[in-house]
């Protein structure tokens, strides 16, 4: 056993970047907490660009090497030690997180500024430190390779997200935050139980080692089956997939605009990312066929239910929250398409790479579009003083850039060209047809129609010519509108990037060959 004793040789130059990506937000969080007052905001705005740079560097390293970056913390190799892991998917998500958080940081400066009189105020300090904590949690989830380390990262993320929901302190948001916390904790405990059972079965919690043990041919231990099912259920609770969505709408609609953007665009995706890691990195492919159909059926129900309910919401932010519910459904359609029987013989993703790229594209373009939408809704609510969809008549004349950004984000959600959403739907539809599961196409198209429906409900009165001109309660700074427009454009530009350049997402997915969409 002396191999463990000799410290692993320093990994490729990319590896220390992983540590920086993980520890930068943690250090900034502590610094911001100690300095407090106005310094907290300055620390955040100083750290965000550096973090963005690190994320870009990691993506470049992964693309350059064409393989997964790996780093054993403390020099201890798994199973004893914990290692960090960054494949194409995590690099993409790290980059998305950094970009969205930079935008949220710029947007939120006006909402969370320390009033001139006091040295420090509750909401600003809480928001800026919680934003860094969310970032630390997200980076830890995207980089983790050890199931228990991921559990701690998930908890860090949940404890950062819950206070964001009730930052304003109104009774409804307190109840929403409490409901979110309790349901998330139920999910986490199930995840922990799964982790315990995995350790009981195979004596390790490292994803790579577990995958090797599970794919090694001997019969799968019953504890491992139970672990996978319980962990998936726990993560589904935290991702608010359709029947388990009781906490999402009030929580995401109750949070302040910047908070809702982070919650809907990123926090919900972290637990989905873990389901992807669990299903495609740990579980052997044949094990997940039947279960993939269950997930996809729930995803389809989420798309339809979420769409119809979004159509009927009176408040704009509730409409967007239910839209998140629907768009999450799309993500779960990836499971049957990638792990489809047609793809089984090849036993990896070469068969339907489109589905994987499409799923990741949907995840990323939804992150940008949803963040832009919530921030736009925040601007509208701030300017008009209310959040009712009925009262948006003639908004286009008063806040043209915000409405334009909202429309762009809607365009991407609906999947109209040239947006990222369109490219994602195109890939998912092609994969559905290639693998012969045509019924998912009907669901996707119906989802597109419903999305069009609830966007029309908002945009038609906004672009209408009739009705008295709206009076602004509070003027809206042009810089904040530009930030929202920038994010919406990010989501649209994703569609213009030619499909062939999504090689980054494939890295680490397709085994050694790394061929995928040429």
């Amino acid at each position: 056993m002396d191999s463990l004793f000799t410290l692993t040789p320093p990994a490729a130059w990319g590896a220390p970047l992983l540590v920086t990506a993980l520890m930068l937000p943690v250090a900034a969080l502590m610094l911001a907490f100690v300095l407090g007052g106005r310094h907290a905001e300055r620390v955040v705005l100083a750290t965000l660009p550096i973090g963005l740079g690190v994320a870009v560097a990691i993506a470049a390293a992964v693309l350059h090497q064409g393989a997964t970056l790996h780093y054993d913390l403390g020099g201890w190799a798994p199973p004893l030690g914990v290692s960090l892991h960054a494949d194409g998917l995590s690099a993409t998500l790290l980059l998305t997180t950094a970009v969205v958080l930079c935008a949220v940081g710029l947007y939120a400066r006006a909402d969370f500024r320390v009033p001139s009189g006091a040295r420090e105020a509750r909401a600003p300090l809480a928001f800026w430190t919680l934003l860094l904590a969310v970032w630390a949690g997200l980076n830890a989830v995207f980089l983790g390779q050890d199931l228990f380390n991921l559990y701690v990262a998930l908890e860090l993320l949940t404890f950062a997200a819950v206070p964001l929901v009730c930052l304003r302190g109104s009774p409804q948001t307190i109840a929403a935050a409490l409901r979110y916390l309790l349901f998330a904790l139920l999910g986490s405990v199930l995840y922990l139980l799964g982790g315990a059972l995995f350790y009981g079965a195979y004596g390790t919690l490292d994803i790579a080692l577990l995958s090797a043990r599970l794919a090694s041919g001997d019969p799968i231990a019953p504890a491992a089956l139970a672990a996978a099912a319980l962990m998936t259920a726990g993560l589904l609770a935290k991702t608010a997939l359709f029947p388990l969505h009781l906490w999402l709408p009030p929580a995401h609609a109750g949070a302040p605009a910047a908070g809702s953007a982070v919650l809907s665009a990123l926090v919900v995706k972290a637990s989905f990312f873990l389901i992807l890691r669990l299903w495609f990195d740990v579980m052997p492919d044949p094990l997940t066929h039947l279960a993939a159909q269950v997930l996809a059926t729930l995803g389809a129900a989420a798309i339809l239910f979420g769409g119809i309910l979004a159509l009927r919401q009176a408040r704009l932010k509730m409409l967007i929250a239910y839209s998140t519910l629907a768009q999450i459904g799309y993500l779960f359609l990836v499971f049957p398409l990638v792990a489809s029987p047609a793809a089984a013989p090849a036993l990896d993703l070469v068969q339907a790479p489109g589905a994987w790229t499409g799923g990741v594209l949907q995840l990323v373009s939804h992150a940008f579009a949803k963040a832009a939408m919530f921030m736009a809704a925040g601007l509208i609510a701030g300017a008009l003083g209310h959040d009712q969809v009925r009262g948006l008549g003639g908004l286009g004349r008063v806040l043209p850039m915000t409405v334009f950004a909202f429309a762009l984000a809607g365009l991407s959600l609906m999947g109209l060209p040239p947006s990222g959403g369109f490219a994602a739907k195109w890939l998912l539809l092609s994969a559905a047809i290639e693998t012969g599961q045509w019924w998912w196409t009907l669901v996707m198209l119906a989802g597109g129609l419903l999305t069009g429906g609830y966007l029309f409900r908002v945009l038609a009165p906004a672009l209408s010519t009739r009705g008295p001109p709206l009076t602004l309660v509070k003027p809206v700074e042009r810089s904040r509108e530009l930030v929202v427009l920038g994010l919406a454009l990010c989501s649209v530009v994703l569609g213009l990037v030619p499909l062939s350049s999504f090689g980054l997402v494939q890295i680490g997915r397709l085994g050694a060959t790394g061929i995928g969409l040429p």
Partner: protein, 102 residues
Amino acid sequence: MSSVTLFGLCGAALVGLGLFGLIVQPGVLRKILAFNLLGSGVLLLFGVIARRGAAAGIGSDPVPQALIITALVVAFAATVLAVALLRRLVQETGRDSLDTDG
């Protein structure tokens, strides 16, 4: 039927009880209690697994023990946050249960 298996079954029963309590109990404080029961049940299962790993002269595998300690501290932090939210809920609405509890 060694005592370790016995405690394992006790852990499984605690998990079942905790889940039942968390789902059915209307009051938030009762839910927090049920969550702690559930958590200790899960950690008990983990402890049984650790005890099964006794080797090299130590009574129980140290790695799961460390994980359990970390999980206990996380559970405590969660309970603190939940109780604080509950107290604020009681201050604001005078009720100790969520409207969707019924």
